[in-house]
Point group: D3
Chain length 246, copies 6
């Protein structure tokens, strides 16, 4: 089984970290391929960047030339999953939703601890559309930007743990979801500090993707996620080698 | 006052029709400028096209060189409004939401009649995020594609009226919203046939944009819609003249 | 265009202030007529007073002898809008709902800052019925009564700003609505202090009323707001000159 | 124990029927006093009439000179209960809510069958504010006006039974609430025809009022339903003998 | 009228206290019979114990040999009420739901103050299924276990009052529900300290049961609560005298 | 890895079928152990049976003497999962919730097709508590009892397909969940007939259980699902060999 794990930003070191994290939980026989969009923002922390990332991710997956069995979109709270579901025949799993589904299996309520405050509403919106808001106790911001997670990992853990503890004691969370693809690998430290299960979206998504493939199930093509209709689309795909946008 | 009315597809005749519709209700002194994305789909009827359109609309607005007082995004049920709100200092009004807000002022419940069945969930999702779902009785599909609206206007009116009548008699709708930018101009015919107020998103959005400008109010820059952070974004803007995506 | 702006209490100085506020944003050619009920409470801060005000407002509008194009009901959180919609052929806009609709166009979530704590549930109920609760972060009380707003404007601004700041920092509000018709004119001071857009219901309602009239749309008469059925109604209208209630 | 049962319309024969129905279930030692407003509509079937009735009911209760232990507001879907709760020290029970509470104790979901279609949204709104909507499967209209219930009882039962059966078979209702004070007395016929429990709001409210009095509990005066503040209220009370409205 | 009041735990002194509390509000002519399950936990404070209690309660009621007119299940937040409704022809009232219904008649919002924090989610879930969550401001834990309520009544009152006051001042509650069958009898002390109405589920349930019997209404047998189908059930009933489970 | 798959009824042939179904999707290295309660109903189709089954399942798992890595509760819509989560250190997956989570990853909305109409509300309630109701388009009954599924498999498929098709065309479902553990194995036939993905709860639960184990995650023991407190519990465990209930 081969799973494409697509970063939403253009920082390749983050793609590598995400892919490594994915590989750490992948079953024997599951190959993980990390993809980085060829355009977009170096980190995604807002709506403009997220919409641009949605297109960057679709572009990267569309251009990928090998075969694959599932796609994981590795941006927490980002747009675009529905577009991928139209374009792909194989299952698509978004890490935001993967985290929410897995957390729901582990406790009565869960909280998300994410990066900057401005990304909180994006995550809330994605959870609402996914129907995962009813058991979400809170989405909290650690105040750390995506890039700071890489640069100052100790401070990041400290800030995340502080919010996670508030989520547990104040909001009633029994499980914590790490609210950024770039937090992959911090789960153990946060779990040790808080005493509750900590879900990382990337690893959760890989295991859910494996589960769907194992079940022989894929995205319904009946209505919302039917393949795009045949029509004139100019400027697609976008990435270099296919010439300028026309 | 100058309002940019941005089509979400690349069909210029549709941009012209939308702009004409906008001008028909604009107050004296309001200038309407129609914009067409330089790339994208000829009609937007699904998630891939809609996400791509979101970027096309942001690109078109970003590249517009004059000044303006408000932006209307003229795609019913499409993605991208939140990105525009980050990029613009002036108010941004999405026609889906404009229709819902205006309809809410006119009746106890409203329904939307849109084009293809596959776009129904997109509209439902946008209304849910906008908090406009509680008073939405139903979103119904006429079965007509966006381009068929232009090509077979009589059939379109017939199909829309049939669904609108079901919305009123069966779903409890007291107001009908036309669920496609390309339906601008059909409101009178549908109103005559059904006897209920019919809201066209484009004209509604223009009047709401005028209202916001008249109130001296614009998008809050405090959190969700703060300007994007300074960071490296490659490949932006996308359109020709700015070179290939890098 | 002529818009009736109806105060819900019997304090004429407040009607004057409301009307002045309305005129400040009215488009050229829009005439504002302030109406005061001939009976009722000098300020409305509870359910008994609000239900009595509903009848007072309907009485005042019914007895108005000129023609008009729209009605604004200028009581925040008060009952009665649905009755006016039955009695009038022209659009009716309630300032509570106008504020909520406008705020929804400007930020991801909004809060209301009102007068006394006891009025909070009334406002919450009106927003819930209007379907405007999903994006309302909180309704907060400043602790100032309606009449204190007039008598101690500086203290009022201070108290409102304090709650508005909590709404922004604690509740996640990105926009503030002033939750009392008598707060008209305080928006600039509160905006300056908090840095977020501040919506006054009266001015918002005037612009929405102008928008509806400009769109040629009025209340649906299909079901909920059909004109009252022909029947025996004793004691109506209520006001002097029409004799005692029989 | 003495319970005031207040009709919302001015038709005394209906007050008599309601009081008789109340007496039929009252415990030994419970006295039922029927009150009719001295002004208002002969039947209440819309918002204008309902708001006017709210004031008529408050007027009637305020002017009542004896002591009493509880008040039942006998208008299904009507406004005003919250005002009565402010004005009274004793418990106030609205028949709409009483029916919903009792029905919730008897089945998984319940439906309401009411009079004219135009009153459906009023009932839906009252149930929503009361938090009784989650288990309400539907509110259905029999098409019979309030006065027709009196004039054509056999047709009324037939029309109500038809809708009740649809509620059970189509909407999943397991209990039916009679959605009009004037339907008191029809419960047995409807129960016999449908085989499900049928709740009449008037009798339900009487028993709930007895329960509250028996528990020694009354309306909380802490916030929403605190007594009206001392202030100038002109024109109150409204009814004859107190002179014209000033 | 005879009402079975069934404790959910095996502590007979608690059954006695509950029955005494029930008798204190029962109408003349209402006989209260307290039942204790013959197996189960000495106190119920979690899901395992609660599910076991559900079966213990059904067993106790099934084996009761006399006739009776209603059943009260006296465990706050516990499972099992739906099973009793299937097994009994007479009305069944759960004290959690009884408290919520009565509280809803007394104030705009109510809170529950219960025992241990771990029982909060059970209560929240029961209120959600009963449709009583919309007006529930909060469920708060006093930190006292069920057995501590008996052993340290003064500390219990103190802890409950502290949380009740927070519910009123911080959560907007206007009514407090005592969230444990073992709190019966503490209502007056808590009401005196907080100034708001305090609802005890046991007494509330008794009066609601009397109301239902007085109305001649019982559980709908149409769908959810139809009697169990004829089939092979081994090991039932469970209690001694009927032999070991087979 | 070893997964206990616990049937909720006492029909061993059904346990065998469920276990076979589980084994068909289990990863290499995953051992499936089927458990049958030693007491309970031969099929579970209502609340009494379901509550009794909850205890039977807890009894069976508690008495199981080997070690295991996860538990699957194989009753669609049944009670008891929360109790198991308290008693077990390993992850517990309920097939109702597993089906809902997996279906949510495959389409915009899903429907459940179950056995008898009386079980529909049980399933709706479980989905509501699991937060899986927002994307559930409908729960439909095939009219077939659990035992008829075994006896008349062809009729069962026909009846299920008929409802599944209505769910897709009428309710907007894009995925179908088979709403009974006894339907395991019918997924291919239903998928072939309807053209949409069909999720069987048993297989879905096995793969989710494997995913949780693979992630090294288990139930949070922080609050709701902490182990039962030390206390006197009489009559437990229930099954033969441990003597009669005391």
């Amino acid at each position: 089984m081969k799973i494409l794990v697509v970063n939403v930003n253009t920082t390749e070191s983050m793609t590598d970290a995400i892919a490594a994290s994915a590989r750490a939980v992948a079953s024997p026989g599951t190959e993980i391929v990390g993809l980085t969009p060829t355009f977009g923002a170096e980190s995604v922390e807002g709506n403009f960047e997220s919409y641009f990332a949605a297109v960057g991710v679709m572009d990267a997956v569309t251009r990928y030339e090998g075969s694959y069995d599932a796609v994981v979109q590795a941006g927490f709270g980002e747009h675009g999953r529905e577009g991928l579901q139209e374009l792909c025949e194989v299952p698509v799993v978004d890490i935001t939703e993967a985290a929410g589904h897995v957390a729901s299996l582990l406790g009565h309520k869960y909280s998300v601890v994410t990066t900057l405050d401005r990304t909180v509403p994006l995550i809330e919106d994605r959870l609402k559309l996914a129907g995962l808001d009813a058991r979400c106790a809170s989405v909290r911001s650690s105040g750390m930007s995506v890039l700071e997670l890489e640069e100052r990992p100790k401070d990041a853990v400290k800030a995340i743990v502080a919010e996670a503890e508030l989520a547990v004691t104040h909001d009633g969370a029994e499980v914590i979801c790490l609210g950024c693809g770039g937090m992959a690998g911090l789960d153990e430290a946060v779990a040790a500090a808080t005493g509750v299960p900590v879900v990382d979206g990337v690893t959760a998504a890989v295991k859910l993707a494996e589960a769907l493939v194992g079940l022989g199930l894929t995205t319904s093509k009946t209505r919302t996620f039917a393949a795009p209709r045949q029509k004139r689309v100019s400027g697609w795909p976008l990435s270099p080698g296919t010439g300028p946008v026309k």
